[in-house]
């Protein structure tokens, strides 16, 4: 072992030429490097999606604005949605899962390292394909570049008649590729959790993050496949002249809606459950208390995963289903609020009576608790079918799901960035800049998305490229756009902080937070083999046991 270490040290000190470093990164099968690749890739696409959001908001800042044409506006909201979900949020979640799950369960790598690399590159090329449509989407027909069919691409808008050219094909292929990549990664994560845990780590002693990512992987496996199947059908329609979604030949546009949302709703939880996972690791450490109600948290997660497979048609109340169908989906959707509520109470109970340290990761998680609660409440409002008939397709819905995805999910992802940045880079981030990021972003978030509910209630439909003055929407749209400015600046502060800290931050050491899970027991950044010798675990907080041999956790569990 010491000989191996010595050679590693020698190689490092010589500082390999850039080509070699690049080659190492491109051909890597190391879960930590793949995790970081996922994250960097996702940040790139987060920037793209953000720029598209800014374009949308500049266009809507005042009535009758002519910043972009209606056609470009359609492309912008389609690309914004597709990019953010498939090429920013999913890779972020996968990146952290890849990096953290093996470390936290005391494994040296994932179960299938090569499948892991293959999946990453599939996703990466999927994203490139989507953005290549800006260049190649014209096809032979000279009509439209970049997909403009909305992120859920309802039929018959996607048929050859209404989407000539290749832009929609780029959309289909990009999602098909990245979908297969996601399934590969999900299979890998699930197998890793089941087969690679270190000695002593039973399922009941696994960190919550591993449990939650395991649930997420199961959801990806079961929900990504319907999307893949539906995309294949759409390809058959577009290229082989099939009639799946061709209404004139008896096909059904509603069937596409069902297939898409069978994927689409669980997808929310594919992103939200890892967000819960970050909160479940960060909140205890900064409250200096173990998580409250571990078994209940696991059960609630599994319940959420299970119920989320049976609620999809709440996106389709306005289609006109039977009243029995409506009732079922209203009730199942509201049922999800129960396990989610349990989780929120457990996090609150964890903070309760703790010695809370408001470092940047904790700030983001506390904001997450408030905002996710509000997002859940508007979710329950929309789950009531009559309410939804009134507001479906309005800015109220847009405000609701951005509250979930930005206010809930992105906030904990920011928290996760700050919390694990010392582990990944070996350096501390700048705490002051982190707080600036937090306050700027929170202010911007609330300016934008709190006030976005109002024009929705006043009847402003989503996806319109402009509007008439004097309907009471003007002032709200102005405020919303101003909020975006805050968020953009905050994100730049965040990126600057990461970059600056990576280069010049102070050295973090292996355990800057006095953490309890296994990733803090190894060096920062961890060596390629993760652990010099495989750890042995007797409780849910193995590092607590190590640091407090007089009062170990396994006395109580």
């Amino acid at each position: 072992m010491s000989a191996a270490r010595a050679t590693v040290a020698v190689v490092r000190s010589e500082r390999a030429p850039l080509v070699d470093t690049l080659h190492e990164w491109v051909t890597t099968v190391d879960h930590k490097r793949l995790g970081i690749l996922y994250i960097i890739y996702a940040l790139l696409f987060l920037a793209f999606g953000g720029i598209e959001a800014i374009i949308i908001r500049i266009q809507l800042i005042r009535p009758h604005n002519t910043f972009v044409s209606p056609q470009v506006f359609n492309r912008m909201f389609t690309m914004h949605g597709t990019t953010m979900i498939f090429f920013a949020a999913m890779p972020l979640v996968f990146g952290f899962a890849n990096y953290l799950v093996p470390l936290m369960i005391g494994a040296r790598d994932t179960a299938f390292p090569r499948l892991n690399a293959f999946s990453f590159w599939l996703t990466a090329f999927g994203g490139l394909l989507l953005y290549f449509s800006f260049l190649g989407g014209n096809g032979l027909y000279g009509a439209g570049n970049a997909p403009d069919v909305g992120w859920f691409a309802y039929a018959p808008l996607t048929s050859r008649t209404f989407s000539p050219g290749h832009s929609t094909d780029f959309w289909i292929l990009a999602l098909l590729l990245s979908g297969i990549g996601s399934m590969g990664t999900a299979i890998n994560i699930a197998a890793t959790v089941l087969c690679m845990r270190c000695p002593g780590m039973t399922l009941g002693k696994m960190p919550l993050l591993a449990w939650l990512n395991f649930t997420m992987a199961g959801l990806v496996i079961l929900s990504m496949s319907p999307l893949t199947a539906a995309q294949l059908m759409l390809l058959v329609d577009r290229y082989l002249g099939g009639h799946f979604f061709d209404v004139q030949a008896g096909g059904s546009a509603v069937l596409w809606m069902h297939f898409f949302w069978i994927f689409g709703h669980p997808e929310v939880y594919v992103l939200a459950i890892p967000a819960f996972a970050f909160a479940s690791e960060i909140i205890p450490v900064f409250s200096r208390k173990p998580i409250f109600g571990y078994p209940v948290m696991v059960a609630a997660t599994l319940a959420i995963g299970f119920i989320s497979m049976s609620v999809w048609a709440h996106h389709m109340f306005t289609v006109g289903m039977t009243s029995a169908g409506n009732t079922f989906f209203v009730l199942s959707t509201m049922a999800i609020a129960v396990p989610t509520g349990i989780k929120i109470f457990n996090w609150l109970a964890t903070i309760w009576g703790g010695k809370v340290q408001y470092r940047t990761p904790m700030l983001f998680c506390v904001a997450f608790l408030f905002q996710f609660l509000i997002a859940g409440l508007t979710g329950i409002m929309l789950a009531a079918a009559p309410f939804d008939w009134q507001l479906s397709g309005s800015y109220f819905v847009v405000a609701h799901f951005h509250y979930v995805i930005v206010g809930g999910i992105l906030f904990t992802i920011f928290g996760a960035f700050y919390y694990w940045f010392p582990k990944m880079s070996g350096r501390m981030y700048n705490e002051a800049l982190g707080k600036v990021h937090f306050w700027l972003f929170t202010a911007g978030f609330h300016l934008t998305f709190d006030f976005m509910h109002v024009p929705g209630v006043l009847g402003m439909p989503r996806r319109i490229y402009t509007y008439e003055p004097g309907r009471g929407w003007d002032i709200w749209n102005l405020v919303i756009t101003i909020g975006v400015l805050f968020q953009a600046v905050a994100t730049l502060v965040f990126l600057g902080n990461l970059l600056w800290s990576k280069l010049w931050g102070k050295v973090a050491g292996s355990d800057p937070w006095d953490g309890w899970t296994l990733e803090w027991s190894t060096a920062s950044p961890p060596p390629a083999y993760n652990f010099p010798s495989l750890p042995e675990v007797r409780s849910r907080r193995p590092l607590w046991d190590l640091k407090h041999p007089e009062d170990p956790d396994w006395h109580y569990e």
């Binding site: 496996i221 496949s225 319907p226 199947a229 082989l240 002249g241 008896g250 297939f259």
Partner: protein, 174 residues
């Protein structure tokens, strides 16, 4: 492998649902009752190939490489017959009955569902054939039995899907 099978099963489920959803909704002919005949012989071939892989893997586990090779070879042949039979059936449908993927909803759903399955059979056959080549060259030994078992698991799954498709397309769907 179990997770992969779960994902694949979900994909097939969606195609089967689409098929059932569109049964009897074709605006024009030909209708399934007029042109489809239950391929009993092919079904028997495919199902018995499940048995042969099972016997092959059992042979390998008890160190009997010869028995493994023969049963494995039988699987490949039976699978090959199935694919050839499907090809013949399609040829008949296209040229005699004038049913293509563009003709009507039945054509679209039938060719995609059966085609998706045939694609899985062909992929499985290729993998089986590669192993067979290894076996004939004498490179397959007892310690590989776990790997051949994974492959046979996939093959069982493909067969099970066929049972569903057979029931839906040739029994209920007519």
């Amino acid at each position: 492998m179990y997770f992969l099978i779960a994902a694949e099963a979900a994909i097939f489920t969606i195609f089967v649902v689409a098929y059932i959803f569109y049964v009897g909704k074709s605006a024009t002919g030909p209708q399934p009752a007029a042109v489809l005949h239950a391929p009993l012989f092919l079904t028997a071939c495919l199902l018995s190939s499940s048995l042969t892989t099972h016997l092959a893997v059992r042979g390998l586990r008890s160190r009997n490489v010869r028995r493994f090779t023969w049963w494995w070879c039988g699987t490949v042949i039976l699978g090959g017959i199935f694919v050839a039979g499907t090809a013949r059936e399609w040829r008949h449908l296209v040229y005699q009955d004038g049913l293509t993927i563009q003709t009507n909803l039945f054509g679209t759903t039938y060719y995609s569902l059966v085609g998706l399955h045939a694609f899985h059979v062909i992929a499985g056959l290729l993998a089986l054939a590669v192993v067979l080549v290894f076996a004939i060259r004498g490179d397959v030994r007892q310690e590989h039995s776990a790997r051949t078992e994974v492959l046979s698991m996939y093959w069982h799954f493909v067969d099970a899907v066929w049972v569903v498709i057979f029931t839906v397309v040739y029994l209920i769907g007519r």
